[in-house]
Every structure is written in structure tokens, then in C-alpha cells.
């Protein structure tokens, strides 16, 4: 009886079934809280033609940027894609399709995908290029646009601690998009820094309940810092 033990043996097992043309949702904000090793595994697998939904697209040599370099991504859905020269090149050359989505709308689209809400109205993006071609309706005297949910074939998530049941907590601002992504994957794969014993996580303090998690693995993380800003002791 495996029951609710979500642990898998290897990164190959973690992403078994991922194939060309699939949609992958990825957690993280900039390089913070990104599923580093799952991204690397996608690189190793060499799957192509992916649609990737993630707030950002990494940097040239780290995070999702490595999948761009290997031309594994056909389409990117993101709110901000700076800090990436290869990205620029592929976008300008038309090799890469990009759907820019406001950050909050992106988070809400995935939250809706996980929550079985197929579409919702938001004021965000009305009157802008984002609103073009979308249904407009007035609520409380203000125009809103209709936005649709996003779900993915795979969701790749970076957690801090988890138990074998797949209950996950995130550390500090490495939480960001991860819980939204976790809920919206058909197959949700979480990599964490540490797997703790059942009972160690207080039930009411779990960020992502195990029901959303299909596979769980422990990794080690570089956690690259994009902008190192410090103060000096006063």
C-alpha cells in the first residue's frame, strides 16, 4: 500500500510522462522560489514545443532561460520577461510566441484553474492591449474584461518543507506563484529542501494541501540571487 506517499525516487520519475507540446506551469518570481532541478530535468529530457506559464522566464543561464536557449519552449505566458538576451533574440526573430499577461491576472487565472472557475471578470487590462478582443462588461459603473482560467499538463513547484503526504509549506517570499501553480496542474510535481515526518507540519499552517500534489522529491538548490542589495550596519 503506497497510500498517500507522494515521494518519487528520481527526477526522471518526477517528470515521467512529460512530452512534446505540453503546457507546463512553473512557480517562482524572478529566480526566487523556482523549481531549479525540475527545470534542469526538462532540459535533460529535451522535450520540445512546450507552452510555459510562469511569471518570468529566468535568466540566460539559469532557471527557465536554459529551456529557451535549447529552444524547448514554443510559447511563453508571463508578465515580465526582462533580464534575458536569448529571450529577446527569439522574440524579435519570431521563434518564440509570447502572451504577456498582467501579473495579478496571471496569478488569478491559475488560481481559477485550480479552483474550477473557468472565467472571471477583472478591471485589470481594460482599455489596454491586454483587453483587446476580450468581452467587456460594466460592474459597479466600471468596465471589466473577461479572463479565462489556466491549467497545465504539468505544474512544477518549489517548496521548502513537505511531508510524504505532499503537504507543502514555502519559505518567505519563495512562496509567490508556487501555491497557484500547484493547484492548477493536472500532474503537480513539487521539489522541496526537506521532507519532514508526518505530524511535523501543523495542519492549519500548510500552504499547499497534499491533494494538489502528485509527486514529491527532495533536491538541493543553488538559489541564485538576482539583485543583491544590502545596507551597512548603522
Amino acid at each position: 500500500m503506497k497510500g498517500f506517499d507522494k515521494r518519487v525516487e528520481s527526477y526522471a520519475d518526477a517528470l515521467a510522462g512529460l512530452s512534446d507540446g505540453m503546457t507546463v506551469l512553473a512557480g517562482g518570481f524572478g529566480l526566487c522560489g523556482i523549481p531549479e532541478n525540475l527545470i534542469e530535468q526538462i532540459r535533460v529530457m529535451g522535450v520540445k514545443g512546450l507552452t510555459v506559464v510562469s511569471n518570468n522566464c529566468g535568466v540566460d543561464d539559469f532557471g527557465l532561460g536554459v529551456l529557451l536557449k535549447d529552444r524547448q519552449i514554443r510559447k511563453m505566458v508571463a508578465s515580465y520577461v526582462g533580464e534575458n538576451a536569448e529571450f529577446e533574440r527569439q522574440l524579435m526573430s519570431g521563434e518564440l510566441e509570447v502572451e504577456l499577461t498582467p501579473q495579478g491576472t496571471l496569478a488569478e487565472k491559475m488560481r481559477a484553474g485550480g479552483a474550477g472557475i473557468p472565467a472571471f471578470f477583472t478591471a485589470t487590462g481594460y482599455g489596454t492591449p491586454v483587453g483587446e478582443g476580450k468581452e467587456v462588461r460594466e460592474f459597479n459603473g466600471r468596465p471589466h474584461i473577461l479572463e479565462h482560467a489556466i491549467t497545465g499538463d504539468f505544474a512544477i513547484v518549489k517548496g521548502w518543507k513537505a511531508d510524504r503526504y505532499g503537504n507543502v509549506i514555502y519559505r518567505h517570499t519563495a512562496q509567490n506563484f508556487n501555491p497557484c501553480v500547484a493547484a492548477a496542474g493536472r500532474i503537480t510535481v513539487v521539489e522541496v529542501e526537506k521532507i519532514v515526518e508526518p505530524g511535523e507540519l501543523e495542519p492549519s499552517q500548510i500552504h499547499t494541501p497534499g491533494i494538489y500534489v502528485d509527486r514529491l522529491i527532495v533536491g538541493s538548490f543553488e538559489k541564485r540571487i538576482e539583485k543583491r542589495t544590502v545596507r551597512t550596519a548603522a
Binding site: 488560481r111 517570499t173 512562496q175 539583485k227 550596519a233
Partner: protein, 218 residues
């Protein structure tokens, strides 16, 4: 003389009220945090999921898991909370943030703002700006009044793709503070030593000039 970046930040800081939750965009808005008046406590919201952004960390306290929306390493202050991006924008979209301060390329007399895209130049994305302008009740757009070539950025109609439609009512430029009312900019204050004539000359959109236009003090 035109306001310096620091003076613009300082002016905005004086608009803060004790107990305000504030989102500061990248650039001059970020500087506002340095000028919070004494006796006033504000809580900074960073849209990646941090309410109560603190100072930058000491070198030895840097933590890759603690960043702000500008991807800078930061700390959390007393009273901070940390949450998901969905929750963060629920807060923003739901109008719970009291004040949003952000930069702009252009604003117009209808309250439209363009701040994220210049066609022909590379587009890096709107990030959270569209959500912020649509969500906050109270937004201050902070910008230079005109381009270096002297072309006004306060227009009758924005020429660039919009970040938000009809959502801006307050604009601080290096020359003036203006409010948008009934399809016109209303000149509320001018930078020290800047003449009403200069502001009129550099404002392309309809501008109403009251009899008295106080000079800002610093």
C-alpha cells in the same frame, strides 16, 4: 527649478498618512520610502507577496528567499505578512492598498496612463503595473513633465499603449503637482521657481490654472 528625483520622492512622502498600506513602483517611487515623515508609519506592499517590506539586509543576513518585487534582497519589518501571488493581487485588485505610486511615460486628461510599452522597442512586460493601476483607489503617477526634447508627457490622449484606462487622478511631475478633473489637468502646485507659464507651455492636454498656484516647499 525642476524638482530632483529626491524632491519628487519627498513630496510624495508628505502625502502619506499614518497607517497607510502603500505600493511603490520601481524608480523614483522606491525612493519615497526614504522620506517617510517622522510620526508616520506606513507599510510597504511588494506584489510578489510581502506586506511590510523592511530595509535591505545586512550582508550577513542576505536570504535568497526574501526579495521584493524589484527582485532585490530585502527584510520583513515588524507586523509583516507573506503570502502567495494570488493573495497579493487579491489585496491589490480588491482595493485594500491605500496608495500606489508609480512611474509613467504618459498620462492624459481622461486619467489614462501609459507606462509599460514603447512600440518598436523591446517589450519586457507589464509585470504588476496593470493590476496596480486598476486596483488602487489612490494612485500618484510620478514622471517628468516633458521629454528632454521638450515634448509634453501630459497629453489630451496618450499615444502609447495604455497600462490602465481612466484610473489616474493625481500626477506629480518634476515641474508641478496636478489633479485630473472633468477632462482636464488642474494645476495644484508648482515646483519652487518654476513659472506657471513654463508649465502651461509644457502641458499638451487641457490645463486649468487656478488664480493661486502655490509653490511647493521643501
Amino acid at each position: 527649478m525642476a524638482l530632483s528625483r529626491e524632491q519628487m520622492a519627498q513630496w510624495v512622502a508628505n502625502e502619506l498618512k499614518d497607517g497607510d498600506y502603500v505600493n511603490l513602483g520601481i524608480g523614483i517611487p522606491t525612493l519615497v520610502a526614504n522620506y517617510v515623515p517622522p510620526g508616520i508609519d506606513v507599510m510597504l506592499q511588494s506584489e510578489n507577496g510581502l506586506l511590510g517590506m523592511g530595509a535591505f539586509p545586512l550582508e550577513q543576513d542576505i536570504d535568497a528567499d526574501m526579495i521584493n518585487a524589484g527582485k532585490q534582497t530585502v527584510t520583513a519589518r515588524a507586523g509583516a505578512s507573506i503570502f502567495s501571488s494570488a493573495e497579493s493581487f487579491a489585496m491589490i485588485r480588491g482595493g485594500h492598498v491605500d496608495l500606489t505610486v508609480l512611474g509613467a511615460f504618459e498620462v492624459d486628461v481622461e486619467g489614462n496612463i501609459a507606462s509599460w510599452m514603447i512600440p518598436g522597442k523591446l517589450v519586457k512586460g507589464m509585470g504588476g503595473a496593470m493590476d496596480l493601476v486598476a486596483g488602487a483607489d489612490n494612485i500618484i503617477a510620478v514622471m517628468t513633465h516633458a521629454s528632454k526634447g521638450g515634448e509634453s508627457k501630459l497629453l489630451s490622449r496618450c499615444s502609447l499603449p495604455l497600462t490602465g484606462a481612466g484610473c489616474i487622478r493625481r500626477v506629480l511631475t518634476d515641474l508641478a503637482y496636478l489633479e485630473i478633473e472633468d477632462g482636464a489637468f488642474v494645476l495644484k502646485a508648482r515646483a519652487p521657481g518654476v513659472s506657471v507659464e513654463e508649465i502651461v507651455a509644457k502641458t499638451a492636454g487641457a490645463l486649468r490654472v487656478p488664480d493661486e498656484v502655490p509653490e511647493m516647499r521643501f
